[in-house]
Structure formats: C-alpha cells, structure tokens
C-alpha cells in the first residue's frame, strides 16, 4: 500500500468539501515556490486532506518560509502548527526523502483561505532545524515543544528549554523508543534529594531591585483556571513581564494516540479541552474519516452539528460565569451553571454522559437520538434567550465590568494573526473568520448563522463575541431540530462500523471480520490528514498519520489554547494584576488544551 494509493476518491471529495484549501490552491502555491526557488528540491507529497505538502531540505527552509510569510501574494501570516515526527519505524515512506525525524510546518494564509505544509527531513547525528521565531513569534513555544518531545534541536532559538515536561526529565517522550506507559519505566521513587531538585527547578529569578517584585501566580491559584504558573515581574503592581510556565496538566495525549486503536482513542480526545465534550471528538473523527475515506450519512452530520453546538454553548456558559467571577461578581457563575445544568440534562439524555460523552464515532455517532429529544432541545431553545438577556444586564451592561474590561488586554488583528490566535479571540479583533463558514465541514454550509465580531480585541470584545456566539449556536440548533433528516446515524463502511449483527450470525467471514474489527480494531490505510474545526476555544485539529496499522503512527493535536496562552505576556504588559486575571479569564483557555 504505497502513498500513491492515498489519493483515493474519498480523500479527494473530502478535500473539495474542505473549501478552497483543496483543489485550486493545491498546485498553486507549490508551483509558485518552485518557480521562485529553482535550486530547491521540492518533494511533493499527496495527503488526504488536500493541503499542498512538500518536503524541502533543512538549508532551504528559512528562505522558503520567509518568502511564504512575506514574499508571496496573500502571505502565510499564521504559523498554524509546528510539530515533529519520529520517522524511524515508519513503513510506508515510498517517494519520501530519507529521514530519521521530520519537522512539519503548517502555515495558513487568511487572504487566500489556504494552508500549506512544509516538511523538513532530518537524519544523522545532528538533528536540528533553524529557528523561525524571527518570522512567527508564536514559533517560540512550538519549537520548545519540538525540542522537549523529540530532542530536535532548534538553532538560534532564544530560550530553548523543556516546556511540557519538567526540566529534570530524561529522554524525549514522543520518540518511538521512549516508553509510553509507566509500567515500562520501573518503579517510581521520590528520594528526598530528587524532591529538592524538583522544587529547585521551579524557582524563578529573584527581583532585580527593590521596586521590582516577582510574583508567582499559580500553579494553584483561583484565577488561573487550571494548573498554569505565571511568573510575574511587577513594578509598583504594574506588570513588567509575565512568563507562563506550562506543562502541569500534560498527560501525553499525543503519545497515547500512538497506542490506542483508532476507535479507542476517541475517549481520550474528550479530555483534551475538557469543557468541549464532543467538540473534541469532531476534529478527530473527521480526520480519521478523511484518512479512511468514510462517508458520513446526513443524519449523523446534523446530529453531530447539533451536539457540537450544544457543547459550544456549554463551554461558553462556563466561560461567561467564570469570567464574571474573575472580575469579582459572584452571582453570574451560579446562573450560567444552572443553565449549563439544564443543557447537561439534554446531553445526558442523548449520550448518557455529561462532560466527556465520547459519543462521536468514526463514520457517525454512537447511537440514534432517543425518543423525546426534540422537545427537550426545543424547551432549552426557548429557555436560554431570556436568561441571556438578563446576563446582558447583569454583566455586559454593568459599568464596573466595562470599566474593568474595555480597552484591557488589547491586541490588534495583525498581531493576533501573527501570533496564531484563532477562534473567538481572533474575531474579537474585528476579523470575520470562522472555519464553519470559510471551510465548511460536517455540513455546516447548510446552516444559516452569523459570525459575531468585536472591534477592539480587548477583554470586553472577547466576551461579547462569545455571548453572541451562544445566540448563533441556538440558531443553528433550532435549524438542526427543524430539519433533522432521517436515515442511518452511522456509516456502514467496514472501517467505521462492525458488520451488522444479522449478517454476522450468518457466515463465518463476517464473524471474523466483526471479531477483528472489535478486538483488534480496523486498519486505516496509510496517509496523512488534518481537518481543522472551529471549536469553542478556537481552531482545533488532529493531524493524523496512519502507517496502515490499527493505531495512528503520529497523532498531533493542534489546540487553540496553546498559542493563546503564549500571547499572554503581550496582552498584559504594563497593566495590573487584576487586569491579568481579567485577561486570563477572557482568552478562555483550558489547561488540558494547552498541555494535552
């Protein structure tokens, strides 16, 4: 099964469904590059998501990237993702340059509404790439992660330290030779000396002079929404610098992806953005479906959209309440959690779960909708809007809230794009961009809704955008209820679902098929795909590499909170500690999403 096979019909249609990212732009940008850099050897690779992909040598990397970032028409201003991959045990590498490791640069141009993916093969003793922090400031953390996870050096990086793992960790976890279970690593011990070492690793630089104070916010702090540590340098309570320290919530979700079968990884996705529920399942199953060429029946698509929007509301309600609480208003959080509780009752009735229903399946959803779901959803649709109006009066129109949030933590559109900021935080800068509109997936093009934006990119705008998104989600859900198609709730494709029970009882071949599919798991054909989705936090995608196996060869999770938190120092410099808390609340990150 060579890579040529991967250009199957299924993949192509999905790419077309992904909007302008596919077809026209595919050859376009790579051809442009080849003309611009005649000396550079671009090795093209077909991927199932239709994103133009090419391998280039390490030496040509920076000039090519610089050209893409500022030289071309419709420049690729956003470093969407930067990740490594251990290529050493990959079987299906036909036509690709020899490499022990590779580094993937996934760029996005908003002007073109197109992505491009460049890969660098690395081999030999010296596995390192040059830094691109000069082109995209957001590359900073990604490159640190690259070093941390793969031991791939980054030449010229200003501050190359571990980021997710603690500084005393030995080895690089995402290398294939690193154990992926604690049971493979010997008994865990914590001698007192080591404990001391771990504690010392947490120390920050002391204050430089008498007026400067170093304040440690977190990892346990009520204002940080999860275990993140922010080392603040204060001068008279004004923030001179803020250095986020992450990794406290790291659970190795990407490593687990290389161990779990395609189906059994679904529950792990739920835990990444733990407020997003099925919004996590969606990008994963969409990516797998692209790899497997699975067609999702219309009913399943609409159910998915409805559930996704319900969870978007749920996530935004938590955000709304806790944001108000960060500002010191204690009441709204109880109201929004009450609403969320009603929403959870619907989720529970439909999926049987609450926060982590793990309900989407490859090719559809787990079960059909239960009897009486329609009334429950309709009741909620009528219930929420008056409550939202009340919160408007309580929070959004409050003069104290305005005084605390308007003009605080401002970021302009261009900086936001450079920093890889996506989702509501980007729309708050006045940039009308929503993947559901621009690259419709899962049938979003069949729904009518608006993309709310704000003007200033400040805390108030970020909240206002999300509040309006709740209303738009209600609109989408109403359309789902009104136009719910009939039909199967999941695909019949063998990769997606085991054979039907009746057929299984009839012949042995089907029984074996069923047995293998359930106990071992389906084998997804080799290939690579990502399907970015608009999650409640921002642009969220699973870059999956299949090596023709029952598990993924590489699972890369591109989460929105990672670049958002990385931009924090930019947002809060020169402001006060209370503003920091307001900003933290307004960018709506989830530490599970940052650390994975």
């Amino acid at each position: 099964m060579g890579l040529t096979l991967s250009a199957a019909a299924g993949g192509a249609t999905h790419a077309a469904g992904a909007g302008a990212a596919g077809t026209g732009a595919v050859t376009g940008i790579l051809t442009e590059l080849e003309q611009q850099f005649p000396g550079v050897d671009f090795v093209r690779q077909e991927t199932k998501d239709g994103i133009p992909t090419a391998w280039i040598g390490r030496e040509a990397l920076v000039p090519v990237l610089r050209h893409l970032e500022r030289g071309v028409d419709g420049p690729f201003r956003t470093l969407y993702d930067l990740a490594g991959m251990d290529e050493r045990v990959r079987a299906n590498r036909d036509g690709l340059p020899a490499a022990d490791f590779s580094v993937v640069y996934h760029l996005r141009s908003y002007d073109r509404n197109a992505d491009v993916r460049l890969k660098v093969p690395l081999a030999g003793d010296r596995v390192s790439v040059p830094t691109v922090t000069g082109l995209w400031p957001s590359a900073d953390w990604y490159e640190r992660e690259l070093w941390d996870m793969f031991g791939i050096g980054v030449d010229g990086h200003p501050d190359l330290r571990r980021i997710l793992m603690p500084p005393w960790w030995e080895g690089h976890p995402l290398r294939k030779d690193h154990p992926d279970r604690a049971t493979e690593m010997g008994t865990f011990q914590l001698p007192p000396d080591d404990d001391l070492l771990y504690q010392e690793a947490l120390e920050a630089d002391p204050a430089q002079d008498a007026r400067t104070v170093v304040l440690n916010v977190g990892p346990q702090h009520p204002g940080t929404h999860g275990p993140v540590r922010i080392i603040l340098t204060l001068r008279d309570e004004l923030i001179v610098d803020a250095v986020p320290d992450i990794g406290f919530h790291h659970r190795g979700a990407e490593k687990i992806g290389e161990r779990q079968t395609w189906h059994t990884y679904i529950p792990y996705t739920d835990r990444v953005d733990y407020l997003g529920g099925v919004l996590n399942n969606l990008p994963y199953v969409l990516s797998v479906e692209r790899l497997a060429g699975t067609e999702v029946p219309p009913r399943a698509q609409v159910i998915r959209v409805m559930l996704a929007e319900l969870f978007r509301i749920s996530s935004h309600l938590v955000f709304y309440g806790t944001f108000a609480q960060d500002l010191g208003a204690m009441t709204p959080v109880f109201y929004t959690f009450e609403d969320r509780e009603r929403l959870m009752a619907i989720i529970e009735a439909i999926t049987g779960g609450r926060m982590h229903p793990s309900w989407f399946r490859i090719g559809g959803v787990s079960q059909d909708l239960p009897a009486g779901w329609e009334q429950m959803v309709r009741d909620f649709l009528d219930y929420l809007p008056p409550r939202l109006r009340e919160y408007d009066r309580l929070v959004m129109q409050s003069r104290v809230v305005k005084a605390r949030t308007v003009g605080i933590g401002e970021i302009d559109k261009d900086t936001a794009i450079d920093r890889g900021i996506t989702g509501p935080n980007l729309r708050a800068c006045g940039f009308e961009w929503d993947l559901r509109k621009k690259r419709p997936y899962s049938g979003y093009d069949r729904f009518e809704f608006d993309i709310p934006t704000a003007a200033r990119g400040d805390c108030y705008g970020r909240v206002a955008v999300r509040v309006e998104e709740i209303r738009q989600s209600l609109r989408i859900i109403r359309q789902c209820v009104d136009q719910m198609p009939s039909g199967p709730h999941k695909s019949e494709q063998p990769l997606a679902a085991p054979p039907s029970h009746d057929r299984m009882l009839h012949d042995i071949e089907t029984l074996i098929d069923h047995f293998l599919g359930v106990s071992w798991g389906p084998v997804v054909p080799p290939g690579e795909a990502i399907c970015p989705t608009e999650s409640s936090k921002g642009d969220y995608g699973y870059y999956l590499v299949s090596d023709g196996n029952v598990t993924s060869y590489r699972t890369r999770i591109r989460t929105p909170s990672f670049p958002h938190l990385q931009a924090l120092p930019l947002l809060c410099r020169g402001l006060e500690v209370p503003d920091l808390i307001a900003i933290l609340g307004s960018i709506d990150f989830v530490m599970g999403d940052v650390d994975r």
Partner: protein, 206 residues
C-alpha cells in the same frame, strides 16, 4: 479618674521607651501607636475629649498608617536589624539620655512647684483645657466651638499659613510621584517592544 490618668501616663511613657528600643521598625511603630492612644486617654481624662478624638483620628489613625504603609513597602531585612542593634550600644544612647534626663528633671521640678507659669488663655482654649475639666455635654460642645472659633479667629493667619504650606507639600509630592511614574512608563515601553498594553497612571493617592 486620677488613677486612670496615671495608668495611661505610665503606659505612654513605657510604650515610648519601647519605641526607641525596638529593633524592628514595625514593632516600634506599633508601640508609638499605643503611646498615642495612651496620650489620647490622658487628654480625655483631663477633660478634653475633642482633642483626644483628634489625637486618635489624625495621629494614630492617619499619620501612623502612612508610616506603616511606607514601612511595609521597605522590606527591612537582617542587615537593618543589625544596624539597629548597633545603635543599642551604650556609646550610642548614653549622651542623649543624660541630656533628656536633665530636661525631665526640669519638668518634674516645675510640676512639683505647682504648675507651669504663664499659660495664656488662648493656649488653653486651643488645647480645649480649662473650660472643660469634668464638663457636661453642653460644655464639651462649647469646647469644640471654642476650638473652632480660636482657629478661625485669632489664629486664622496661622491656619492659613499652615494650609498653604501643606498645599505646597502636596503639590511637591504629586510632582515627585508623577515624575517617577513617567520614567517607569518609558522603561516599560522600551521593554515590551510594541506591546499594545498601555502604562496607566495610578489614580490620585493621599
């Protein structure tokens, strides 16, 4: 009442002694507050409740809090304590103590002779003294009034001069803090290279 007076007086003297001998600045400050409170009680027992209240509100409640505020900002560490301990050596305190003792002896002598001669009527009014010893409520109100009349009558010029002085002090203080803040703004601006956050000037401080 006499017993109260002496107890309060003794507390004031002891607390003041502690102010001098404490090594930690905040402890000394606390004893100073106690001393002020004791003095307020002395005033009250002497029949000047208005002055007593002012003593607490202005000295103990406001000026000392400002001192406390300043001391909290200065984190005096071990070095400071060592210096303080150094000052506690007899060489440092013996001469001033002898001089003070001489003054104390004079005061005791004068008191023993039967009061301080030459108290002026206006001074008595300002201190809220003479009229109010053991006075009834009405008289106390009159006392307050007397203080007010004294301040805005014979001493008007003094009050105005004092207020002009204070105003000058206020303007100077504001000038100093504003200068510092703008310097900060420049350094912060240089550090964050195009950060959108603006350095805000703090609101008015007392």
């Amino acid at each position: 009442m006499t017993v109260l007076f002496y107890i309060a007086g003794a507390v004031a003297v002891i607390a003041t002694g502690m102010v001098i001998t404490r090594r930690k600045a905040i402890h000394a400050l606390l004893y100073l507050v106690v001393s002020f409170l004791a003095l307020a009680l002395v005033f009250y027992v002497l029949g000047a409740p208005f002055v007593a209240a002012l003593e607490v509100i202005v000295y103990a409640g406001a000026i000392m809090v400002l001192f406390l505020f300043a001391l909290m900002l200065i984190d005096a560490g071990r070095a400071e304590e060592a210096r303080e301990r150094d000052w506690m050596r007899p060489r440092a305190w013996i001469v001033p103590s002898v001089l003070s003792a001489a003054l104390l002896a004079e005061v005791v002598y004068l008191l023993a002779r039967g009061g301080v001669p030459g108290r002026t009527a206006a001074g008595a009014a300002a201190a809220g003294g003479a009229a109010g010893v053991g006075g009834a409520a009405g008289e106390a109100a009159a006392q307050v009034k007397a203080v007010g009349i004294a301040l805005f009558g014979p001493y008007l010029l003094g009050v105005e001069l004092a207020s002009i002085l204070l105003l000058a002090g206020l303007v100077a203080a504001h000038h100093l803090t504003v200068d510092l803040d703008s310097e900060d703004g420049e350094t912060a601006g240089a550090a964050d290279s195009g950060a959108p956050g603006r350095t805000r000037q703090k609101g008015g401080r007392p």
